[in-house]
Amino acid sequence: MKVELTINRRKGIFEVEPNELLINLLREKIRLTGTKYGCGIGMCGACTVLLDGEPVLACLTLAVDADGGEVETIEGVAREGKLDDLQEAFLEEGAVQCGYCTPGFIMTAKALLNENPSPSEDEIRGYLKGNYCRCTGYVNIIKAVQRAAEKRKRIGKQEI
């Protein structure tokens, strides 16, 4: 089957099987390996991507269900060689350890800040509860999301 997808702002037509998962299309066919496989059953959030701005789990999404949609993966977050505030904040707060969960966290956090530009700590924790991290105990990840939100507020940046 053919699907038409805009992936990281670039349109393409892809030949997929009816049962092919979005994660496999991204990782195996397009070699966008920033989207990680962790569990395959929607528990860990490592495969989170944005589909039309909404966070979805690529391991539970059929490629055909994304037909006509806009997919953003971690590889599309930095623009014109500039890191996103979230990416910068993750680096500055020491929120990255092994880094395997990082793409999923950044994608989920991006959706959060788009919905809610100044979330409380409880709101951040609530929104990120579906993303597992085994290294950080989430402390520096929460701080990084707070930092990115504050930075955007300071420079009056809206959703991007």
Binding site: R27, R31, L32, T33, G34, T35, K36, Y37, G38, C39, G40, I41, M43, C44, A46, T73, I74, E75, V77, A78, L83, Q87, F90, L91, E92, E93, G94, V96, Q97, C98, G99, Y100, C101, T102, P103, I106, E121, I124, R125, G126, L128, K129, G130, N131, Y132, C133, R134, C135, T136, G137, Y138, V139, N140, I141, I142, K143
Partner: protein, 783 residues
């Protein structure tokens, strides 16, 4: 002692070097790699916990075009996948593929095809006739041996030895006279503890990519904590010359000890690549990974005796551990368990009997702490019980007995002894107590109502490396290469891995500090076995201490050569020259103080050395640490127990650590945050129970293997981390490790906090809501 404030780079926050690739999604983990023309592999695993393969027919899958290997054609060799111990401490009972599988998930055969889906179809076409045997799902049953031996014999020190009563190995140690010690004690208590069997739940599943080379060798990328031992093991199994096996570093998506050994899939993928003459990619699914490795489950019977004043007189520990179907490192662990135990508190008389027992469960291996979290949980629970029996403050009992500066220490077991030269235990305990409000903690039995609060204390340590003054049975040395480039940057080449803790950033800072070059100018090279010198393993919290130690050695040599060359270039005396990191130039500048004409950048110097044919400034070194100094930690944890649901919530955490000189402050704190989360999880959440059929009850699903989420841990303001100031004379710029000490005392502190809240002591992990509710009901009934 160096003046801490004089450090240019150490103790300052910097952006981790692999961070950019990680936030961009560009970092390559083994599971992200591919080679044109590669085949995808799948592994046929035993569905039974104990069976014998009567026959196996692969003709249908071969007919589908798949490359197939079975246990029948594998090298007849038995091996141990972990090469950290010397031969006289290494038991070998593994095969690449087995015809006598001993756990659900043990590999029997494997296939490779053009796609993962084709490989799966070919796998399902293999026909196997099993004779199903009665399994041992419990170490105590296994010891009775009613259903025969799981391994008739194993290879030990290159000779076959018989196995008795399914005991994989044993160790006994006696010091002093325990009978006398107990009879002279005023209080003696004896308790039995049983730990959980945990799964690492590292976010990246085990993965490997192998490429066969034209010279008969192989190149490979795998989830590994040791590229060099992977190479040596593959040589041992397949007989490929060591130099023709090229093992590359690949980023690790968490490991926590699960890749100290070469993972089961690695030799399987190599065997497939050798047969197919094509590159092979093999990645486990989560369900497969969960049936591949696990922690050691331990049953402790511990006895402690003390005088009225709290001075410990004697200790006795009997430990039985369920190691699952094969030995990864059971024998050295028997030594470590007694080491962890006797190096917490001074025991003038002690006796220890440790037995490692085979069962038909997933093989056990190290899980952050290598038995230390288990041993410390039991010991710290006992210390609180002892304090109560003595009518003492638990804090005072610990201060009276702890092993600290000047004391003999053998955390890594009886062959790894050294003297402690830096210790911040007292400060950790006093400051922690103040920050949590220890004096005002609730009294056990004093609370009523649904929600009850308690504060608990747990302290501990872990070794930094496994070094010691004499060789012993643990291999522990590492190496590094450092060279100066013509642009004034330095290439730092090490076989050590970064598991996420920032180990290699610490090395870069140590090099920067010693030479005086900006941290940005130290490139951490992604290297392989051909281009690095030997390192045993990134484990035992040795990254910063041992790896940083050798980084400092090469930095010193490179600095001396820089000064020598600069002396020639500037017509000055080398010993009178200085080096400063120049922010503006983004370079190191070598200069003679006060003489502005006498200065040169490192890049200019390296370029001059080239055109004048002076040579490359470079150094290579190897380091065996002469001790393995403990880094100390202490946790004060406040919990709230809901007596209606049995749920326990962490309200407040105060964690103190003595890691010597702090090199990466944010990343070191990150180790403690993560260590707490893992320890909390060990205390409250994690276990891998088995079903009647001998498989994991959760069937490998993460849904039923809970680790904490963002909602399960304390708020930012309720988690305080502090470092006490010490200086380890044997460490690079006074530094020690942190990775494992960050976790070890947590479960003990949680157990003590729950006791403080409820007045109920739990002897089994995890302390689940059901267990807590039952204990509360039982107490009501007795009343």
């Amino acid at each position: 002692m160096a003046d801490h404030n004089s450090f240019h780079f150490l103790g300052k926050k910097t952006i981790r070097k692999d961070g950019l690739a990680k936030v961009l999604g560009a970092e390559k983990y083994a599971s992200d790699l591919s080679i044109p023309g590669m085949l995808y592999a799948r592994v046929l695993k035993s569905p039974f916990p104990r069976a014998r393969v009567k026959s196996i027919d692969v003709s249908k899958s071969e007919g589908m075009g798949a490359v197939v290997i079975t246990f029948i054609e594998m090298p007849r060799i038995r091996f141990c996948p972990r090469l950290v111990s010397t031969p006289e401490a290494t038991y070998k009972d593994w095969r690449v593929l087995s015809g006598n599988p001993l756990y659900v998930g043990e590999p029997i055969a494997a296939v490779a095809s053009e796609s993962e889906e084709d490989a799966q179809r070919a796998l399902e076409a293999i026909e196997v006739d099993f004779e199903v045997l009665e399994p041992y799902m419990n170490a105590l049953d296994s010891l009775k041996g009613g259903e025969g031996l799981l391994h008739e014999n194993v290879v030990f020190n290159e000779k076959e030895i018989q196995v008795e009563n399914n005991i994989a190995c044993r160790l006994e140690i006696t010091e002093g006279d325990v009978q006398k010690g107990f009879s002279e004690s005023d209080v003696v208590i004896e308790r039995e503890f049983r730990t959980n069997r945990r799964y690492h739940n590292q976010l990246e599943n085990k993965s490997v990519l192998v490429s066969p080379e034209v010279d008969g060798g192989v190149s490979l990328w795998s989830t590994s904590q040791t590229i060099h031992n992977t190479r040596l093991l593959l040589h041992e199994i397949f007989g490929i010359p060591v130099s023709k096996i090229r093992v590359h570093k690949a980023a690790l998506g968490g490991s926590f000890g699960s890749s100290i050994q070469t993972n089961t899939i690695v030799p399987i993928a190599v065997a497939l690549a050798l047969k197919a003459r094509r590159p092979i990619k093999l990645s486990y699914t989560r369900e497969e990974d969960m049936r591949d490795h696990s922690s050691y489950q331990m049953i402790f019977r511990m006895k402690l005796g003390a005088k009225k004043d709290g001075k410990l007189q004697a200790g006795e520990l009997n430990m039985i551990m369920d190691i699952g179907a094969h030995q990864v490192q059971a024998y050295p662990l028997l030594g470590c368990v007694v080491g962890w135990w006797v190096s917490l508190y001074k025991l003038p008389n002690l006796r220890y009997v440790g037995k490692a027992v085979y069962t038909n469960k997933v093989p056990s291996c190290a899980l952050r702490g290598y038995g230390n979290p288990q041993t410390t949980w039991a010991t710290e629970s006992m210390m609180d019980e002892l304090a109560e029996a003595l009518g003492m403050d638990p804090l005072d009992l610990r201060l009276k007995n702890y092993i600290g500066k000047g004391d003999l220490f053998w955390g890594q077991g009886p062959t790894v002894k050294s003297i402690i030269n830096s210790c911040g235990v007292e400060e950790i305990l006093r400051r922690g107590a103040e920050l949590i409000g220890w004096e005002n903690r609730p009294k056990p039995f004093a609370q009523r109502g649904r929600f009850r609060r308690g504060i608990g204390l747990g302290r501990g340590y872990h070794t930094s490396s496994a070094g010691s003054p004499i060789p012993g049975t643990v291999i522990d040395y590492t190496g590094a290469i450092l060279k100066v480039n013509e642009d004034g940057t330095l290439d730092y080449i090490t076989a050590m891995m970064d598991q996420g803790g920032g180990t290699l950033d610490a090395h870069a800072k140590i090099i920067s500090e010693e030479i005086g070059v900006p941290v940005d100018n130290v490139n951490v090279v992604v290297a392989d076995t051909q281009t690095t010198v030997y390192d045993v393993n990134t484990h035992a919290s040795r990254g910063v201490y041992a790896g940083g130690g050798v980084a400092l050695m090469v930095a010193r040599q490179v600095k001396a050569k820089i000064l020598e060359f600069a002396g020639r270039a500037l017509e000055a005396y080398p010993h009178a020259l200085k080096i400063r990191p120049d922010e503006e130039l983004g370079q190191a500048v070598i200069y003679a103080e006060g003489l502005t004409s006498k200065q040169i950048t490192l890049g200019e110097l390296a370029s001059m050395a080239r055109v004048k044919n002076w040579g490359t400034i470079a150094a290579v070194e190897s380091l065996r640490p002469g001790s393995c100094p403990p880094h100390f930690t202490g946790y004060f944890i406040e919990v709230e127990v809901d007596t209606e649901t049995g749920k326990v919530k962490p309200l407040k955490v105060v964690a103190g650590a003595d890691i010597g000189t702090v090199i990466n402050p944010d990343l070191a704190a990150g180790q403690i945050h993560g260590g707490f989360a893992m320890g909390w999880s060990m205390a409250i959440l994690e276990d891998t129970p088995y079903s009647e059929s001998g498989d994991l009850l959760n069937q490998g699903m993460m849904t039923d293997y809970k680790t904490p989420t963002t909602l399960d841990l304390p708020k930012l303001d309720d988690f305080k981390v502090f470092f006490v100031e010490t200086y380890e004379p044997s460490g690079p710029f006074g530094a020690k490790g942190i990775g494992e000490g960050a976790l070890n005392p947590v479960a003990g502190a949680v157990a003590n906090a729950i006791y403080n809240a409820l007045g109920i002591r739990f002897y089994v992990l995890p302390m689940t809501p059901n267990m807590i509710l039952k204990a509360l009901k039982d107490r009501e009934r007795i009343k």
